[in-house]
């Protein structure tokens, strides 16, 4: 008898809880999980992305799709081995409606896998790994940044058009570097040049001297380098110290000179790079964004802040279409797919694989700025090889 009463009571309790939860759901906040690097090499990037994301939400009065936003944060430490645990903290423990992250390509691969398995909405605000909008593409995975192929392809075209016939590439031996170099080769080939030598070194080694000597012995028309962060600073400085920059132009994707110019100093002056963002863009939205960002955070925004801002915009467009009801996933995704995002980088749309179709700018280093030299390739779409969506 007693047992039965307990069962009954439990059933009532459960029912009551369900009702309460359901009721709360209708007006509750949308839970956004930010999985970004807050420590380690990429800490500054993670902070910039979050700042950009929050700025857009604040501009909308703290709401997207009519519902307030509640943030849940996890530091991914740019550590692929912890990625599955970390994203599960957001999905299973915090029950977030959408995950935004991250910077590191290896971490993002694990995140995309979990997002596919659990059908969680994922917006990637940086990592350019091609697979997530290639073989691993899915209706619930979006990217607000770029694919590694895009800036590489644009730089290849520019290098070829500037008369580079024989080019040496140099990068860390890892996915992002390989993908960027592949893009470069395609662009260069289309413009009549060819890559005569691929130099690589293990990630994250920064002892370049031996390879620089190799470049000097090969005497190419140009060098294409993919490095980021501390490695980018050291490579550009070593390249100049070896005297190579006087005779062999050094090209690269924007990451070679983004956020690193103060440290690179004179060594980087005059360098050409390609990226989907630049300083001194003639885009009204960019001027407003820079002013607002400066006011809110007392520092100048960078490309990462833009990508965070656009991640929030993309999500906002989807949520507006369903009036904040995240359970209408298909309509939400459809609205995001059709969106034209009014980005500070210039408006862009999304490809079928959910990667931005965007203008890639040619930029020249002047002082501590990557000044826009105009558009290198207009509305460049990633080939999204292997995506059947």
């Amino acid at each position: 008898m007693k047992h039965r009463r307990n069962t009954l009571a439990t059933a009532f309790l459960a029912a009551a809880l369900c009702v309460a939860a359901g009721g709360a759901h209708a007006q509750s906040k949308i839970k956004v999980g930010l999985m970004l690097p807050y420590t380690g090499t990429y800490a500054a990037l993670g902070t910039a992305i979050e700042n950009g994301f929050r700025l857009y939400v604040q501009e909308q009065g703290g709401k997207l799709g009519g519902r307030e936003i509640e943030y849940f944060k996890v530091d991914d430490e740019s550590e692929p081995s912890k990625a599955v645990d970390n994203i599960n903290k957001l999905i299973k423990r915090d029950n977030v409606d959408v995950v935004v992250g991250t910077v590191h390509s290896g971490v993002v691969m694990a995140m995309a896998k979990v997002a596919r398995d659990t059908n969680t909405l994922l917006v990637i605000p940086n990592a350019g790994a091609e697979a997530v909008t290639g073989p691993m593409c899915a209706p619930n995975i979006f990217r607000s940044s770029f694919s590694n192929w895009q800036p590489g392809y644009a730089m290849g075209k520019v290098a070829g058009e500037r008369g580079a016939k024989k080019v040496v590439t140099i990068t860390w031996k890892y996915a992002a570097g390989d993908e960027s170099v592949e893009g470069f080769k395609e662009g260069l080939k289309a413009a009549g040049g060819e890559v005569v030598k691929d130099l690589t070194l293990p990630f994250p080694n920064v002892e370049f001297q031996a390879l620089l000597t190799d470049i000097a012995a090969t005497k190419p028309d140009a060098v294409y380098a993919f490095f980021a962060g501390g490695g980018a600073v050291k490579f550009v400085k070593d390249y100049a110290a070896a005297g190579l920059n006087r005779t062999i132009p050094l090209y690269g994707p924007g990451f070679l000179t983004d956020g690193t110019l103060e440290a690179q100093g004179a060594a980087a002056q005059g360098m050409l790079t390609t990226l989907h963002y630049a300083d001194g863009l003639d885009v009204p939205k960019d001027k407003a964004f820079r002013a607002d960002y400066g006011k809110a955070y007392k520092m100048a925004p960078d490309v990462y802040a833009v990508q965070g801002y656009d991640a929030a915009q993309m999500l906002g467009i989807g949520l507006d279409a369903v009036k904040g009801d995240v359970s209408k996933r298909n309509e939400l995704v459809a609205a995001m797919e059709k969106a034209r995002i009014d980005s500070p980088r210039g408006a862009f749309t999304l490809s079928k694989a959910h990667n931005p179709v965007q203008d890639i700018y040619l930029r020249k280093v002047v002082g501590t700025e990557n000044k826009s030299e105009g558009v290198a390739v207009k509305a460049l779409a990633d080939p999204a090889r292997g995506c059947n969506m």
């Binding site: 420590t39 380690g40 090499t41 800490a43 500054a44 031996k173 130099l199 690589t200 070194l201 293990p202 994250p204 080694n205 920064v206 002892e207 001297q209 031996a210 390879l211 620089l212 000597t213 190799d214 000097a216 012995a217 005497k219 962060g229 501390g230 980018a232 600073v233 050291k234 400085k237 070593d238 110290a241 070896a242 005297g243 190579l244 005779t247 062999i248 956020g259 690193t260 103060e262 440290a263 690179q264 100093g265």
Partner: protein, 293 residues
């Protein structure tokens, strides 16, 4: 590869090896003589690099672009720092097993990284090469070799000689060597072994900080820069024989050559070559090239 290129590559190898030696010598001292596995050694290198970045503007007006002054101040600070660190933390580790030493020194890595992040942020910084060393020497047709790199190699060689002289030829060096083989006996003979250990640890820290400061203008300064150096340094210490300065020098040069020529000749497997070298040497001589004690 023609002869000129080959010679330049040899220069690259020696130059890289000597810098490695500067970091690894401190590690081998602490590991070999104190018996402490010091994972925080890479952090000292990182601290040195950031110190060079932070001190550079303060001494810019001094002679030589302030570089010698900044180096001197950095070394003094690091000796004090190492002395205190040994007193407060490391001195409790001598009697403990290696696992506890690893835990403590790994904890120190996290603390130092976080303090660095709070004090100086997470940005990548550059340190200017002092003006009087900024030139370069022409080598072959296209390439030039920066004078600063040659200067660095010279300084590393001097430090290596000085270290060797102190350890092999002085009374302090004798006490240090004796302390490494039998702590109790040295104490019984009236040598203050605690003080001696404190000095050795401080010297080890100073060597790593000095290496970081010296390398800052060519490596640039960035978060996590110490971890990479730490791993290679351990390889050097193991190859050279734990506690042997001579071994560390030889092993550094070996690693320098293997790494440099590996990158050029067999880039596909360059990442593992140094570790293959270590494995082969350990198979041949499990104690490393030069054993001590």
């Amino acid at each position: 590869m023609d002869l000129a290129v080959f010679l330049v590559q040899c220069l690259n190898a020696v130059q890289y090896g000597l810098l490695l030696f500067l970091v690894a010598s401190g590690l081998t001292l602490i590991f070999g003589i104190l018996g402490v596995i010091n994972l925080a050694h890479g952090s000292f290198y990182m601290i040195g690099a950031y110190l060079a970045y932070a001190l550079a503007p303060l001494f810019a007006a001094q002679s030589g672009g302030g570089f010698p002054a900044a180096l001197a101040i950095g070394v003094v600070l690091s000796i004090v720092f190492g002395y205190v660190l040994e007193w407060v933390f490391v001195s409790y580790l001598y009697e403990r097993d290696h696992l506890q030493q690893v835990l403590m020194t790994y904890g120190l890595i996290l603390v130092f990284e976080e303090l660095r992040s709070i004090a100086l942020g997470d940005d990548v910084h550059g340190v200017a090469v002092p003006g009087w060393l900024a030139g370069s020497v022409p080598l072959g047709g296209v390439m030039t070799y920066p004078v600063y790199r040659l200067f660095m190699s010279g300084v590393c060689l001097l430090v290596a000689l000085a270290l060797y002289a102190v350890i092999a030829r002085t009374r302090v060096g004798m006490a240090i060597r004796a302390g490494a083989s039998n702590r109790e006996m040295v104490q019984a003979l009236g040598v203050d072994i605690r003080l001696l250990y404190r000095i050795v640890f401080a010297a080890g820290v100073a060597l790593a900080v000095f290496a970081g400061m010296l390398a800052a203008p060519v490596t640039s300064v960035y978060p996590g820069m110490g971890n990479q150096v730490l791993i290679v340094s351990f390889v050097v210490v193991v190859i050279g024989g734990i506690g042997s300065i001579r071994g560390a020098l030889l092993a550094s040069l070996l690693v320098g050559f293997v790494d440099t020529f590996g990158n050029v000749l067999v880039p596909q497997i360059a990442g593992v070559l140094v570790y293959v070298l270590m494995a082969v040497i350990l198979l041949w001589r499990p104690e490393g090239l030069f054993r001590t004690g």
